[in-house]
Amino acid sequence: MEFTREIYWNVGNSAGVLIPMYLLTLIAFVALGYGFWQRVKVYRQGQALNRTDLLAQRIMGAVRDILLQSKLLRVAGPGVAHALFFWGFLLLFIGTCLIVVQADFTDPLFDIKFLTGTFYKLFSITLDIAGLVAIIMLGGLFIRRYIIRPEGLDNKKDDLIMHGLLFAILITGFVIEGARMAVTELGTPLAAWSPVGLVFAKVMAAVEPEALRSLHKATWWLHLLLVIGFIISIPFTKFRHLFTTSANYLFADRGPTGNMVTLDLEDEAAESFGAAKLADLSWKDIFDADACTLCKRCQDRCPAHATDKPLSPMKVMNQIGEVAFDTPDANLVETVSKDALWSCTTCRACQDICPASIEHVNKILDMRRNLVLMEGEFPGEEVMTAVDQVEVNGNPLGLGYATRADWAAELGVKPLAEDPDVDVLYFVGCYASFDKRNQAIAKAFIKLCTAAGVKVGILGKEEKCCGEPVRKMGNEYLYQSVAAENIEMIKQYRVKQIVTTCPHCFNTLAKDYRDLDFDIPVEHYTVFLEKLHDQGRLKLGHGEALTCTYHDSCYLGRYNDIYAAPRALLTAAGIKISEMAKSQVESFCCGAGGGRIMAEEKLGSRISEARVKMAAETKASTLVSNCPFCLTMFEDGAKGAELDGQLAPKDIAEILVERLEA
């Protein structure tokens, strides 16, 4: 027999069918276009922003991420279900397109029918399986949403309509196929190539052919109407994410991770800085709200949300959307609330996991900029004092700037002012310079460098805060001011290479400073030491056996993808690492980022204690970190959680220096 089927079987392809079908389709797409056009007008309330540069790369990246569903698959359960559902539906859509191509073009124009033979068999079985998988996955997603009810997953009317519509479309599709097969294919070898349809056909086998034909025709029209309804509903329901989320992949920020706009503060035409009203945001900020499907993956990972602070990244994105669509004159800061804004640690877990490529962090930072630059407001007096001290003494701890290099006195490390001939400039940072506990990191690092034969210089009292905490708190003006002073000082000494023991300094000097005419290479010390170790210049022995757990700091991990080098060093020193459940890219913040190292934690419970408890669960004796902020927070967190007897926080430098091979 011929392996094919008659397109429009039983329904017919007369004008009475084709005209209403194409008319409805046309109406559907006009409605779709209109619906989105209305939304585009809302996005346009935001500022211009160029996200169509490097277009070829953007398109390729977007197509790859959409087709592979890579971002969705970062979370196994619902991610796999969605991916399979997506591929199933995609195949069904491609199948329908192939039918259109044959029925409307190749057949009438060239008398070519390609949906025959082997190709048709493959076509048929692929679509059947695709439809089945789609139904099963949809069922799974339905059960998760309505029966398991994960916490934080809110159900709206939207969601029920979407599940219902998709389910109806898939089921009616199989009913149509089953009815047709019951009349034309039962008992033929072709039936095996539509296994799911065959099941439906067998169920209907007993029905009279006349009744089957009526059922087939009616269901065919119902299916058409459901699909038309679906297309029309896209811009008006969460279905819009088909377009908005896909487009968000296209419009993603392709700059360095953690990139902030370096404001032109001299701009006399600027009436305002930061974001207080809708027009202060870019179109992309408003568009992000439309790309959100309320999957809550960001909220689930937010350390502030996990410790009962009033911040939910998902909620902030949607509040912006609500303002844009419903109350465009509302004040953004008041809508989102200051407590929510100040709670953010800029850990980036939200933005990193978001399957819709939404940019949460910079919106929060732009609102902070407005509060600081335009209102002179801070989350507390202690923060205002710390920021003021960065201006007066070049460090937020409020210690005299002239004592910045006192830690180095006994180690023979000289400031560049005395001896500029060095292999590398060690940018120490405020905490390693002034904080008693963190000075141990600086001293350990010098010893490691000396052992590796590297001559290290420091800026000493000429070094100022890199500016990162004040920048993240919103004080762009002070940041640019201290940054400019540091840059001028460093350039004056013709420094060729910089190393730092603080990931915040590292991220700021290596990336943020690029906007301020600074391009000297900067490394975090773990990468620097790993290179020395690989070259055989840094010799590490094994020392006392130790099982530690290693904390990936946000600014070394998510911001800079440095996960391997520190672990390689620990392993080379004979340390056994017992990883926490939330490690590497899923690491949980210590709580000090976003300038919050300067602030008191008054809301909810302590983020540092939450993380220390996670570390204690590994039963390791030592909690190793790579950042002075993390070390400070873990010392406090261990005491607060009463774990200071069983878990010792240490910086990786302290561990390595104990295991230097003589």
Partner: protein, 257 residues
């Protein structure tokens, strides 16, 4: 309302201090400079008053070398309208009487309704300049205020006394007040105000034009407190401790006759 606020630039108190060559003051090297803490309250209160009373003008004044201009810009950014820098590299050699007379000489004939100063400076700490200026200009003065209210020409101020008791003092303008911790929380300058401050009037007057008196005090010597023996902890029964303590006070001090 015409308002004058007098501020002084002092080293940040966390700095490590060294004596200068003459041994009469601290050395200027390795110091971070900032507005005197009490003067910050004065500036804040002056600006708040300006915001309360229509058509007010605030002049901020400081005596010192060129570096005080940086601090004066902060005062302008907080809301003062104009600045007067009295240029004097040797300001630290002058006693409170000379400093006050310079300010009073400037103030003469200018009909300021209110003058705000800090209650004392964090370096010299004499606490005298504000009151001396008021006396020289024939104005009533209220010192160490922790609360300030102004209504139709009348000032109502609170002063904190020993034991936390507060006294309420009222007077009418023109007057002078010196400001204490607790009066207000000085604002952080906003960026637009920082930018505007760059363009505000900042006059420079050489000190010789205003200094018409001689000092009445001279700093003979400045030195660090001598390191003496450590503290002594007495332990035991209360009765015994009391006897021990009385014996020590009699023998080693002049407290008990």
């Amino acid at each position: 309302m015409k308002i004058l606020v007098c501020i002084k630039q002092v080293p940040d108190m966390e700095s490590k201090f060294k004596l200068n060559g003459e041994g009469t003051w601290y050395d200027n090297s390795d110091l971070a400079w900032r507005m005197n803490e009490y003067d910050e309250y004065a500036v804040e209160q002056a600006v708040q008053l300006k915001e309360q009373v229509a058509d007010s003008d605030v002049t901020v004044l400081s005596i010192g070398p060129d570096r005080v201009k940086e601090m004066m810009k902060k005062a302008l950014a907080m809301g003062c309208d104009r600045g007067v820098h009295i240029v004097d590299d040797d300001f630290f050699k002058k006693d409170p009487y000379e400093i006050a007379s310079i300010i009073a000489e400037f103030g003469k004939g200018k009909e300021f309704d209110l003058i705000f100063t800090g209650m004392q400076s964090q370096d010299r700490g004499s606490g005298q300049v504000g009151v001396l200026v008021a006396e020289m200009l024939g104005l009533p003065s209220i010192t160490t205020i922790v609360d300030f209210a102004f209504d139709a020409g009348q000032i109502t101020a609170k002063r904190e006394l020993e034991g936390g008791i507060k006294a309420i003092i009222k007077t009418t303008v023109p007057a002078l007040v010196t400001c204490q911790l607790g009066l207000n929380t000085p604002r952080y300058p906003t960026l637009p105000n920082i930018m505007k401050a760059k363009k505000k009037e900042l006059l420079s007057i050489p000190v010789s034009e205003l200094l018409k008196v001689e000092g009445k005090q001279e700093t003979a010597k400045m030195y660090f407190p001598e390191k003496k023996g450590g503290g002594l902890i007495l332990e035991g029964e209360v009765g015994d401790l009391t006897d021990q303590l009385i014996k020590m006070l009699k023998d080693k001090t002049a407290v008990l006759a």
